[in-house]
Symmetry: C2
Subunit: 125 residues, 2 copies
Amino acid sequence: MADIGDKISEAELVVMEALWEQSPQTATDVADRVAAARDWSVQTVKTLLSRLMAKDIIAADQDGRRFLYRPMVARDDYVAGESGRLVNRLFGGRISPLVAQLASQDQLTAEDIAELEDILKGLKS
Amino acid sequence: MADIGDKISEAELVVMEALWEQSPQTATDVADRVAAARDWSVQTVKTLLSRLMAKDIIAADQDGRRFLYRPMVARDDYVAGESGRLVNRLFGGRISPLVAQLASQDQLTAEDIAELEDILKGLKS
DNA sequence: TCGCATCGATTACATGCGTAGTCAATGGAG
DNA sequence: CTCCATTGACTACGCATGTAATCGATGCGA
């Protein structure tokens, strides 16, 4: 569960994804990785790293002159928190209306359906 | 689908919920209804209504000296957009990992599971 | 040893958001 | 007809965010 104190902003999340992919990394490494998704200057990435540090969402260990950054929050925990928050805000905490919603928007592939069936089968045992 | 142009903020969403519950309503009506959820002054609610108007998310028809506000976006459309956005951001557009996630957090009740099975059954036909 | 490249830290600045006070107009009570 | 309560409009203001430039320290090549 590991409660996330401060909120992770949209831009910060991009940086987090880079760190979740691989860690620890130097600021420059993160910037390079982020460059694939966003055309940001290195400075921007460093600012975001600082803000994430201030929020205790990541930590850094000194390595000579530079720092090696690593996440303090597991992606799964973050994702669980966000999913739960959305489900609470929009569906009164119930998940099935969400699925129904996505289904009605034709956002479920045959593969999704098969996987959902597997999940349900597992839950019933 | 009715694309939502501007983003609805957290506070604005509270106002929208009041309008989705019942519409049209005067600003004071909305404020009263919102009071159940948040301890805001009438002015705050009016400001939020103005911002929602500016974003074309709601509209107002004059009724004598006051206005009757009504949503221009259906709740379903909004909810679909938000759900889709979350699923894209966090699950690469796949819904089953979301359900798996919630399942692993024990956030699925027996009722949810039954309903999900029904939904899936409906989809396969 | 001297200057440059590089690193993290600090500062910047426009925009959006949360929360609310104040103002000008106006409809209704007396 | 006068005054007050109510309404929408405008203004305020501090904090978060997105995006970045600049600064001071420092390790490394020449």
